[in-house]
Amino acid sequence: MLNTPSNIKFINYFKIFNLLSALLILFSIISIIYKGLNFGIDFKGGTLIELRVESSEIRINDIRSSFLKMNLGDVSVKKFGEENDYLVKFENTGQKSKIENIKNELLNDLGNNFSFRRVENVGPKVSKELLRSGLIAICLSLSAMLFYIWIRFEWQFSLGAIIALIHDVIITMGFFSVLEFEINLSIVAALLTIVGYSMNDTVVIFDRVRENLRKYSSKDINEISNLSINETLSRTIITSSTTLFALLSIFFFGGEILNGFSFAMILGVIFGTYSSIFIANPILIFLKVNQDSFLKNK
């Protein structure tokens, strides 16, 4: 299939997929508003301890009850990756919860059978700042993309690309909301990379649309859009495959810490590829892009 030029009537599916996207976005927004996002300590503040126990005697309930005794407020204990690894999280309480005190309490309850593999504590001031700079980073990258495409193409292209990007970001966040996956600093990094990747994909198709608009003066945008998608389709598929190969290997072999990051990226690459075809292009058609859109340039 990848070796023969494809001739799929993409435009026939635009309506149905646009409807699907609209529904997905709606669900995502509803979920984000009502169910909320599971912010990690980076953005909510609090303490995280990655704990490894060396004895199989110790069960998750032992750890949980030991932590509950310490009056740390809302404590969550979860399994994390390997068999005997646990992730403990609790919010910042008024009094300074000292890590050494926690260690001593655990020594009493569990004996000398555990080690702290990772300890993170983020104060309320810092977490607010991190959230703010994360949001700024995402908005800034979206506007930088908008601006870049506007300069390189025309405003219609810029609008189409940006709507596709927002679509990808919202749906990825929606998945995180529904699945209750944690949003932390690396997820923001993933979202920014998704913005870059999705843009990359859209630009390649747009580049071809522009070229074909100049080449075929008699074809209308429906035809041109369809032709351009088909001409670039094998590249679209190959590149998203190799990128997905890389991401899947991070997801499965890169360790527990990179799980959320690679999951977000996998979603982003899938939706980014999809949106370049089924969101960005219909917008060009909707905005009635035609040969005249470029006449003033060349």
Partner: protein, 518 residues
């Protein structure tokens, strides 16, 4: 696009060899390296502690206002400005001014740039103090830049003290930096339990020696204080006999007579003189040794201490005596520090992360290479060569800049592997299209490269924009991701547009009359 001059080919290989050399040098033993450059491992990979400290400047502002209070009164008297009812209110100075002095006050205090009391900051074009005047009531307070200046000064002082304390601990290559104007970032590679460092940095270490008085605490000259360990109360004079500033050395010792751990200290000449005088007069009295508003101990002075040496006893363990001595040697912080962010990674987790990252890289890399070979055969091999060269270039650039590699950074490299072939895919797919309408191989390849160029550039610049923003706004490990992703894009463009194109051109020119399948 297929023609390369000899000079250009030489240039391509020189760049590749040069950077590959740097990337390989990471794996050489110390003695074999002509350049001492290496990729640094981030704290998440090598294990260690990251602490973000914030200086609480509000006590300093209050203290500064108190010192200004006296000098402002003096300044007014010298300049014949009539005032009354002067007092410190919140963090401002309040007073009432007489009508005749108003103009003089405004001109002397707030207009003259070279006045003695209200510093004019040339760089901000602003005075240290602002004033509000309402009828005859005046309120003087620090201007925005006055506060900034205080913060700037105290952050530099704090940094110095933090550095001394950490250096005394002898940790491995600590990294201590100022962030903004009220924060200090401390990175301690290899440290998996920062409890002791946190305890040491959490103390202001303000040491004073003051006499215990029996006068009632309602007296202005004295105040109530608690003993550190017993919690008992004592009334101490506000007059400071000696402060920590006058110490030049402090050491933990074992007192052979009492078998107790003590801290001995040596005073500077001025301190020794003051201390000698005070202890001569105060024989028989109790001298309280106060650290951060808590009394450590209050021994009775049996004889004058004039030699400039003294010792502090208390309920010390050897560890706590060592820490106190360390704090006294390195000096007091100008303001309390609080730890507002802490991230510690144990060395075994770091090692596990490196292992997992390496495995993911090898698997991701192999998948991409196999896929490209199956898809494009000969040209797949070329793309794969370019990909390998790309990795060497990337590692080389990271080495030259001595960049820090983090776990997300490794993810950035793996992602680069997945996305790097895109440029070659774009070009190859374009060449395929061109070959359908153009029978001449050279022309087809040439126009394929030419026509794919804008798409390749646009596609990579967009990712580069995202990486740049992430670099400036991201923190810690995420920054490491932005670095590898960003540099990866640049090395990708080089390896595809110079190296792979050169190999392609070599192959096409050799087989220009044969049928080439792509």
């Amino acid at each position: 696009m297929l023609y390369f001059s000899k000079l250009k080919i030489l240039f391509i290989y020189v760049v590749i060899l040069f950077l590959s050399y740097f990337s390989i040098s990471n794996f050489l033993y110390e003695g074999f390296k002509p350049f001492n450059k290496e990729i640094n491992l981030g704290l998440d990979l090598q294990g260690g502690s990251y602490l973000l400290l914030e200086v609480d400047t509000s006590p300093i502002v209050l203290q500064k206002i108190q010192t200004k209070f006296t000098s402002i009164k003096k300044f007014f008297r010298e300049n014949d400005i009539k005032f009354s009812n002067i007092k410190i209110q919140d963090r401002s100075i309040y007073f009432e001014i007489e009508e005749i002095s108003k103009d003089k006050f405004i001109s002397e205090f707030t207009k003259k740039k070279d006045n003695q009391i209200n510093t004019y900051f040339e760089k901000y074009k602003e005075f240290e103090f602002l004033y509000e005047i309402d009828e005859n009531e005046v309120l003087i307070s620090f201007s925005k830049f006055g506060i900034i200046e205080i913060k700037n000064v105290s952050i530099v002082q704090s940094l110095e003290i933090v550095r001394r304390r950490i250096d005394e601990l002898g940790t491995n290559e600590p990294n201590i930096l100022i962030r903004g104007n009220e924060r200090i970032l401390v990175e301690l590679p290899g440290l998996d339990d920062p409890t002791r460092v946190k305890n040491l940095l959490g103390k202001t270490a303000n040491l004073t020696f003051r006499f215990i008085t029996d006068v009632d605490s309602s007296d202005f000259g004295s105040e109530k204080m608690l003993f550190e360990d017993s919690g008992e109360e004592a009334i101490v004079s506000k007059r400071i006999v000696l402060s920590g500033d006058n110490l030049i050395d402090a050491q933990p010792r074992m007192d052979t007579q009492t078998n107790q751990t003590v801290v001995t200290f040596t005073m500077d000449r001025l301190g020794a003189k003051k201390f000698g005088r005070a202890t001569t007069k105060g024989v028989g009295k109790r001298l309280a040794i106060i650290l951060d508003n808590k009394i450590i101990s209050a021994p009775v002075i049996r004889e004058p201490i004039v030699g400039g040496n003294g010792q502090i006893s208390g309920n010390f363990t050897f560890q706590s005596a060592t820490d106190l001595a360390l704090l006294l040697r390195s000096g007091a912080l100008p303001a309390p520090l609080s730890i507002i962010e802490e991230r510690t990674v144990g060395p075994d987790l770091g090692k596990d992360s490196i292992d997992a990252g390496t495995i993911a890289l090898i698997i991701g890399f192999s998948l991409v290479i196999i896929f490209m070979f199956i898809k494009y055969r000969t040209f797949g091999l070329i793309a794969n060569f370019a990909l390998i060269v790309n990795l060497f270039l990337l590692a080389g650039v990271l080495t030259i800049f001595e960049a820090t590699l983090t776990l997300p950074g490794i993810a950035g490299i793996i992602l680069t592997v997945g996305m790097a072939v895109d440029a070659n895919v774009l070009i190859y797919e374009r060449i395929k299209e061109e070959m359908k309408i153009e029978k001449n191989n050279i022309i087809a390849f040439d126009s394929g490269y030419r026509k794919a160029q804008t798409a390749v550039l646009d596609a990579n610049i967009t990712t580069l924009i995202a990486a740049t923003i992430l670099f400036f706004l991201g923190s810690g490990p995420v920054k490491g991701f932005a670095i590898t992703l960003g540099i990866g894009i640049i090395t990708t463009l080089f390896s595809v547009y110079y190296f792979a194109r050169h190999l392609t051109s070599f192959y096409v020119l050799k087989n220009k009359d044969k049928e080439i399948s792509i």
